[in-house]
Assembly symmetry: C2
């Protein structure tokens, strides 16, 4: 299982309608096939520059690849993510048995 996360900061003011609209449309990505455990979270650590995180899991790399190339994801990235996200960092992990 792969956990995919993106930490991000928006161009929008905190609490603005634009912020809420972005998060609502971001949540629409959970309907893409293969997406599991979808979650949007508020960053609460003062020790990094991001305001939010979105995370989800995929059963395997094939499911992750299918998500990446899905038209709904591509459209969201081009139409909303790129113009409205000021900074982001992708963070993908596979759990270790330790």
């Amino acid at each position: 299982m792969i956990r995919h996360a993106a930490l991000f900061r928006l161009n929008h003011a905190a609490g603005s309608d634009a912020e809420a609209g972005f998060l609502s449309d971001l949540a629409g990505l959970k309907t893409i096939p293969g997406v599991e455990a979808f979650e949007i979270a508020r960053e609460v650590s003062p020790k990094n520059e991001y305001g939010f995180a979105v995370s989800m899991t995929f059963a395997d790399q094939a499911a992750y690849d299918a998500y990446n190339s899905h038209p709904a994801h591509v459209t969201f990235v081009q139409g909303r993510w790129i113009p409205e996200v000021a900074a982001f960092m992708e963070h993908d992990t596979v759990a270790l048995a330790v």
Copy 2:
């Protein structure tokens, strides 16, 4: 619920005994009271500078604070984390209902 994560890169060579020893001792933190859903994961995205992530959840800020000040955590940070971690970023989140 608060999810606490730290993305990190070690001073040790990949696959080394020193790396394995660090991860094994890091896993010992899961026995500290209040720690839930403890996980160590390997970073698989080429898009950031970290090699591993450790994450856990706490019921509330009081449980998180108790973990931070617990002697086992303080001893690990001073004796292992600071000398053996080359770079890290803390990333703490609270899930949003969107």
